[in-house]
Point group: D2
Chain length 216, copies 4
Amino acid sequence: MASLIVVTGFEPFGGERINPSWEVARALDGEIIEGLAVKAIRAPVNCVKTAAHVTDAIERFRPRAFLGLGQAGGRAAISLERVAINLFQDRNGGQLDTRGDARTLIDGAPDAYFARLPLAAVLKALRRHRIPATISLSAGAYACNAAMYAALHALRRRPAVPAGFIHLPYDAAQAARRPASPSMSLEMMERAVRLAIAVISGAAGETGRPRRRRLI
Amino acid sequence: MASLIVVTGFEPFGGERINPSWEVARALDGEIIEGLAVKAIRAPVNCVKTAAHVTDAIERFRPRAFLGLGQAGGRAAISLERVAINLFQDRNGGQLDTRGDARTLIDGAPDAYFARLPLAAVLKALRRHRIPATISLSAGAYACNAAMYAALHALRRRPAVPAGFIHLPYDAAQAARRPASPSMSLEMMERAVRLAIAVISGAAGETGRPRRRRLI
Amino acid sequence: MASLIVVTGFEPFGGERINPSWEVARALDGEIIEGLAVKAIRAPVNCVKTAAHVTDAIERFRPRAFLGLGQAGGRAAISLERVAINLFQDRNGGQLDTRGDARTLIDGAPDAYFARLPLAAVLKALRRHRIPATISLSAGAYACNAAMYAALHALRRRPAVPAGFIHLPYDAAQAARRPASPSMSLEMMERAVRLAIAVISGAAGETGRPRRRRLI
Amino acid sequence: MASLIVVTGFEPFGGERINPSWEVARALDGEIIEGLAVKAIRAPVNCVKTAAHVTDAIERFRPRAFLGLGQAGGRAAISLERVAINLFQDRNGGQLDTRGDARTLIDGAPDAYFARLPLAAVLKALRRHRIPATISLSAGAYACNAAMYAALHALRRRPAVPAGFIHLPYDAAQAARRPASPSMSLEMMERAVRLAIAVISGAAGETGRPRRRRLI
């Protein structure tokens, strides 16, 4: 039997009819990619509930890998997230609340966790397939970050389990209503996530963390 | 025999291997869309030569419609151009020269021509098919604008011939090298131009100009 | 007695408390710059009324020069507008209506007029004083464009009268409520417009139009 | 005698003649702001050297507070940085190297440190004075982040010492050479940093960390 990779996507929010992260997750549900069977989970756009969903899924399925997906409206490329932070910044009418007030997600837990994915290898694979992709240094301070942080926290004592998060652009159909926003076809996003899972599978056991070399 | 629509695209420039405008034009070459047979023409990225190419093609083929295509790197949506101006602003290292020096394209000709396409109808068709699209008020001051201006000038005494210009985003493969840039799949751009031609065909004989109503 | 330059600014709109174009115009009102006495006019943000205001002011004051000012929220630099178009595109909730419907401002008038200002010389002066500035190829399709078009139309038979339009960024105080938007200090915008008027004064009698040289 | 606040700025880089972070730091050098005497330090744009500079300055001056300043070309507002990460991502021709390769700054140290500044209070003060400002969730992965991380690491056992980092936009004179880039006057940036230091002084002893409340 194939090992599992839990892939989470979010429900639509902000008046959208779809969320590309869930469209991609459910399209891959049940597929076996380089020995990893995809188990798609749909998460609510709410920090507390998302974190609970993610934590429960990890406890229940004991996956060999975890990959969270989310929608990053306004970004043009597939974003491989580098870091999740122990912070929740309120939203104010859909916008990030920039009044600066913030709360910790988990008291006493570290300020941040780096993704445990082979980001450079995933990036290389996506570019080789001519898919716009980049490394991102911030997954925000809302539900996507909460999902990523909760997963890395839940897996903190299982360092061999690759875990991380990928942000997806708007789907073209979403961008049709806001033509100044960049977008990507769902088909290309599906291919991108499939490629990422293939690389993650091959790299299982590697840490994916920044190369250790004392710089300072 | 079907009537002709001349569709121009540009050769690659700026170190690119492809230019989506030419990829789309040549993909449609020979196709018959709602009674219009596509004649694709490849134009050089040079104001003087482009204008000559466009003018020659119009004289030679006497098309029932004209549609210029060009690459607008950095734009996220299909841009339906509203106006071509009688102006050429030099380039300086690939960037628009903002020193402000400018020359007329054709002495004694009007400062500008509006597109003669049913822009609102094309826009509506693209959005109904969930393709990001918008009306643009500037086609720049370089080869794309020169092609559009030259065509509208050449056709100034044949007002029943629809003529205009559409700017295309980077293709995804181009954006893979610059992941902050928005892009669109070639397949979607092809569909968009096919839809535009279908609408243009249906509207032949209409002027496509701004609705006449004295505002001021 | 000094000759007049009419300088128009707009009332605040879109929920703003100020409009930098009017702040600058009224700050300069009555000043004499290189022999040109500034007559500031406050215009309403409405195409029809603005055009009437501008036309009336030109008829009434018979100025030796005309300079319209407007707010271009989201732009980072002083924008010297190159062209005004005979077009009005409706607004939809503050945003440019991209449904594509459009009306002519003045039936039977040309599609566009080029600015009659020495744009390259103004740009050079601003940059020499380290003020971010650029040439813009579109003044939009709303009240700013209407003011510019109406002025150039009213002065079409007085070609020696310099006339044009400058778009200003948000003032810093406006941007404080939307920190992703670029802005400029009112003091710098005032200096910029003063410099522009000085150059315009020196160049009176020149046409400021694109250099005539047959390109095509 | 007043307590010290070490304020670091960077030397110019990327062909610039100035770096607003150093212009502001040196302008404030020696000033006493709400009881804190500013000690300005000029740091090199190099991760290893910057970190050494910052660490040395903290050891040598034992300041009561630390504030790093840096240039964030392309941002429109004063950015109050929330988090510094234990990561260095190489640069490639001035651009962030997006090949994804990365190294830890300090082996065995935490993945990230949150700023220890009263960010919400600083933000509120800046906005009250109508200065565009925002909270930023990423200080990048280069010298600015290294300075911030090194300071928070050096002060990890002195939690009562406020420490953090502020990114500044381009100065207007820098933006004059790239008019699409947002900018801010040096005078406003100076005022902003002065206000920030005043708030930091008043809040000394507070942690400035995210409010502790178990969310998940």
